[in-house]
């Protein structure tokens, strides 16, 4: 017997119950229901944790498992401990998820994940049945990834609900789920889901290896997993996608990607990702291709504005005045007449103010959220211009940049763009357009060097894959979208659409 295993249960009920109480520190939510069997006077106890279980199911489980214990009924009369045990085992089995527990470790794992445990005096084995339930949040509308058209469902904190939400969308035996527990202390349930036959075997293996390599006390959100399995830890760009929309997960599974579900969070991770994925919204597929393509192009334009907007303005005013048409230049110069700061400082001031308003707006209790926007937008913007601290043109540039950054569907990508914007502003102030241009070489080379579970991040642009162009920058009509992403999915690339 391996030494690290917990000791076995004792045969005495009283000892066992005492041990359970001791180990849980006499916790008040531990419920122990003790009975004496009417027929044989043997002591039996049912144990569960209050709140983790559905009360009705617990009751049903207990009555079901003790069905023999009726005086004078037509049920079997059982007097021996062994007979009772055999009966219970059979009955419990018929209720679905049951298990026979022999050691303490197993018992606590079962108890704390919502099982009801039945102990019988004189028996060194316990029977557990899954009665988990209790309060969970209902499936509601997605709050972070809103779509005008499309499913209104979003994931909840319960992993079981989440898995079923995707199952309901893909009714296929090839939708495979594997579960594991991660987190030495928290023992969090983590499940990976993929389409067998579409997802690449090597990618699945790689992901599993990475997940099994995680050694951490607690997993409280999928963000923990994301940061622990990322390949490029020092890159500002996210290499895992997260979503709270089941339809988005289903769509990505069908392209051969893998979804990672973590219990306790509505955000499901998707890997492997590509850069372009972060600019796709589920709605792109629900709307007609023409508007979807144009909107995607608009999003890339917004990306460029939010990355380079203030930098470009600073560079043009400091280094390349000849680029600005003369009337506009005169106009800008007259606006800046009373402004005491250099353009870069002016831009930095406004950008930082904008970031403050944004952060405060998120953290603020919602009833007073209005105040922030009034103070921030009206008072600061208007008054700062009138006081001559910033020029009106700069306010326009910074607010356009801010709004553009919200047009990115993936919030985590918008965050990395937010960081880079400041670096680019800084470079623009020192080296003008040339500096920005060289920095963009470094940026794109960096993006090309990233990979997500071994898949190049910039595919299908670098490496260029002609067959996959239908769904990267553009979204072609469905009759042209016959190929799955070549690097991500298995050999058979053809979708069966016709």
């Amino acid at each position: 017997m391996p030494g690290n295993q917990d000791p076995l249960l004792s045969a005495k009920l009283a000892d066992n119950l005492q041990e359970i109480r001791d180990r849980l520190g006499n916790s008040p939510d531990l419920i122990i229901r003790k009975f004496e069997l009417v027929t044989s006077l043997i002591e039996v106890a049912a144990i569960y944790i209050n709140g983790l279980n559905d009360k009705d199911i617990v009751d049903e489980f207990i009555t079901h498992i003790m069905a023999f214990d009726t005086l004078g009924g037509d049920g079997p009369q059982l007097n021996s401990v062994n007979g009772i045990y055999q009966f219970m085992k059979g009955k419990a089995l018929s209720t679905g998820e049951e298990k026979v527990i022999r050691d303490w470790k197993e018992l606590f794992a079962a108890l704390l994940s919502g099982n009801t445990i039945v102990l019988v005096d004189g028996l060194a084995e316990a029977i557990g049945g899954n009665t988990s339930g209790g309060e969970v949040r209902a499936v509601t509308e997605a709050s972070t990834q809103v779509a005008i058209r499309g499913s209104k469902e979003s994931f909840t904190e319960s992993i079981g609900t989440n898995l079923s939400l995707v199952r309901r969308r893909i009714k296929n035996a090839n939708l495979w789920i594997e579960t594991m527990k991660i987190g030495v202390v928290t023992q969090t349930d983590v499940a990976i889901m993929y389409m067998n036959g579409i997802a690449k075997e090597s990618v699945i293996q790689k992901l599993k290896q990475k997940l099994q390599g995680i050694h951490i006390d607690a997993i409280l959100e999928s963000g923990y997993i994301e940061q622990l399995i990322e390949e490029n830890k020092y890159s500002p760009f996210p290499t895992l996608y997260n979503t709270e929309r089941p339809d988005s997960v289903a769509g990505n599974l069908m392209e051969g990607r893998i979804a990672i579900f973590v219990d306790g969070t509505p955000f499901v991770l998707i890997a492997p990702t590509t850069f372009f994925m972060f600019f796709h919204a589920v709605e792109d597929y629900y709307q007609r291709y023409d508007i979807s393509t144009l909107i995607r192009l608009l999003r890339f334009m917004c990306l460029i504005i939010s990355l380079f907007g203030p930098g470009l303005f600073v560079a043009a005013l400091n280094f390349h005045q000849e680029m600005i048409p003369t009337p506009l230049l005169i106009n800008l110069a007259s606006q800046r007449e009373g402004v005491p700061f250099p353009t870069f400082i002016e831009a930095l001031l406004l950008e930082v103010t904008f970031e403050i308003i944004r952060e405060a707006g998120i953290r603020m209790p919602s009833p007073i959220g209005q105040t922030v926007s009034i103070i921030g937008g009206l008072v600061l913007g208007q008054a700062a211009v009138q006081a001559g601290i910033v020029s009106p043109a700069m306010v326009i540039v910074v607010s356009l940049t801010g709004i553009s950054s919200f047009a990115t569907p993936a919030f985590n990508m918008a965050l990395s763009v937010r960081i880079l914007r400041f670096i680019i502003m800084f470079i623009a102030a020192f080296m003008g357009l040339y500096g920005m241009c060289v920095f963009s070489f470094i940026l794109i080379a960096h993006l090309c060097s990233l990979s997500s579970l071994g898949i190049p991040y910039m595919s299908p642009m670098g490496p260029f894959i002609p067959q996959n162009q239908q769904d990267a920058v553009f979204r072609l009509p469905f009759q042209f979208m016959k190929n799955r992403p070549r690097l991500i999915s298995q050999k058979k690339h053809n979708k069966r659409i016709r």
Binding site: E322, M323, P325, Y434, I444, A445, S449, M458, G462, F464
Partner: protein, 365 residues
């Protein structure tokens, strides 16, 4: 270490960016007068043939770069010192490109920034990308190829739309013009930019489907030759022979003339952008070639370690080699006439012939 692999698309992008590099912005084939576009077309077949020589040598010695098969063909005693010649030439050529970009930038809008700073920033980017390896470089090239095409399209469109093109500047072509065009095509344009492709021999062994390297390379060279021809024809037709030859950067001068509806004007930034992109990729490929040859000759395992030393040498030689721009151009003329033809054409063709003879007479070990 895992061998780095690039695809045919990536090779295609690298060759086009390399060919367009600086050649699209600076004046080329100075002797051919207004028939410069004709010279480019005349030099194109020579460039293709030269590439086929490189391609054939790579196919005969799979997995070996130029210094590798030079030693195989000519023996270690001759081959090693001969290959050594390539390292300074690659680096010097890279530094010349850097110098040209730096000077254009200073002329355009950085008149108060030292050339050292301007060049150093570019070199930092080159070192970064070389440190990431050839695969990353190739992927980046693919993305920038699209950027270059968009820029080129916008530039030519506005120039044509502004009604600046005057075909009188391109014609007539007399017999004397043909002769002149031919004289400037060989060896000048043949070597710059087509012969410079000798450094692609260091990339060819990394190609995934090596049998496609011929087709891909020839396609890329023909396309880039046509693009060069069209661009220079537009520049010549807008500026006329006189201004074209006096301008340091004819493309820059051309674009400054554009004024569409008093709204689209001052597109100089686009030209500068094109030049920076071209120079960047050309220089990176030169530095990569220098690194590859060095690593091969001196048996350096991790090529990435050489990125910084090579970058530093290129940076310093970029502004130490010539005191001013006219001097730089003069040096370029000498370099183009006496040194580059030897390394780009004479040595590879010699290798090709020696290889054939030895193969014919069964002298290959």
């Amino acid at each position: 270490m895992r061998k780095e692999v690039i695809g045919t698309n990536q090779l295609f992008a690298m060759i086009i960016l390399f060919e367009l590099g600086t050649a699209i912005v600076v004046p080329i084939g100075l002797e051919s007068g207004h028939a410069v576009w004709l010279s480019i077309l005349l030099a194109l077949p020579g460039g293709v043939l030269l590439y086929l020589v490189y391609h054939d040598l790579s196919r005969q010695y799979p997995g070996l770069i130029i210094s590798g098969y030079t030693r195989k063909i000519l023996g270690r005693t001759i081959g090693w010192p001969l290959s050594l010649l390539y390292i300074p030439v690659f680096m010097f050529n890279g530094s010349r490109n850097l110098r040209e970009a730096g000077d254009l930038l200073i002329a355009a809008s950085y008149d108060r920034t030292p050339v050292f700073i301007i060049n150093a920033i570019m070199v930092i980017a080159v070192m970064y990308i070389l440190n990431k390896g050839l695969e990353v470089f190739a992927r980046t090239a693919e993305i920038y190829l699209a950027v270059i095409f968009v820029l080129g399209f916008i530039c030519s469109f506005v120039v044509i739309a502004a009604g600046l093109v005057d075909f009188k500047n391109l014609f007539p072509l007399h017999a004397a013009d043909w002769r002149q065009a031919f004289r400037s095509a060989y060896p000048n344009i043949w070597i710059f930019p087509f012969g410079e492709l000798v450094c692609i021999t260091t990339v060819l062994p990394h190609l995934k489907e090596s049998r496609l390297s011929g087709k891909t390379g020839v396609g890329a060279i023909v396309l880039s030759g046509i693009l060069l021809c069209v661009t220079h024809a537009i520049e010549m037709s807008v500026l006329g022979e006189d201004v074209y030859h006096r301008a340091t950067f004819p493309m820059y001068t051309t674009i400054t003339l554009v004024n569409l509806a008093n709204f689209i004007q001052r597109l100089d930034a686009l030209v500068i952008l094109t030049l920076i992109i071209g120079v960047f990729f050309k220089m990176t490929l030169y530095c990569y070639a220098a690194i590859a040859v060095t690593a091969d000759l001196f048996k350096v395992q991790d090529t990435r370690k050489l990125a910084v030393p090579v970058g530093v040498v290129v940076l310093f030689s970029s502004f130490i080699s010539a005191e001013n721009y006219p001097r730089h151009m003069e040096e370029g003329g000498v370099f183009l006439r006496y040194i580059l033809p030897v390394l780009c054409a004479v040595i590879p063709i010699l290798l090709f012939i020696v290889h054939r003879i030895r193969k014919r007479f069964g002298l290959l070990r």
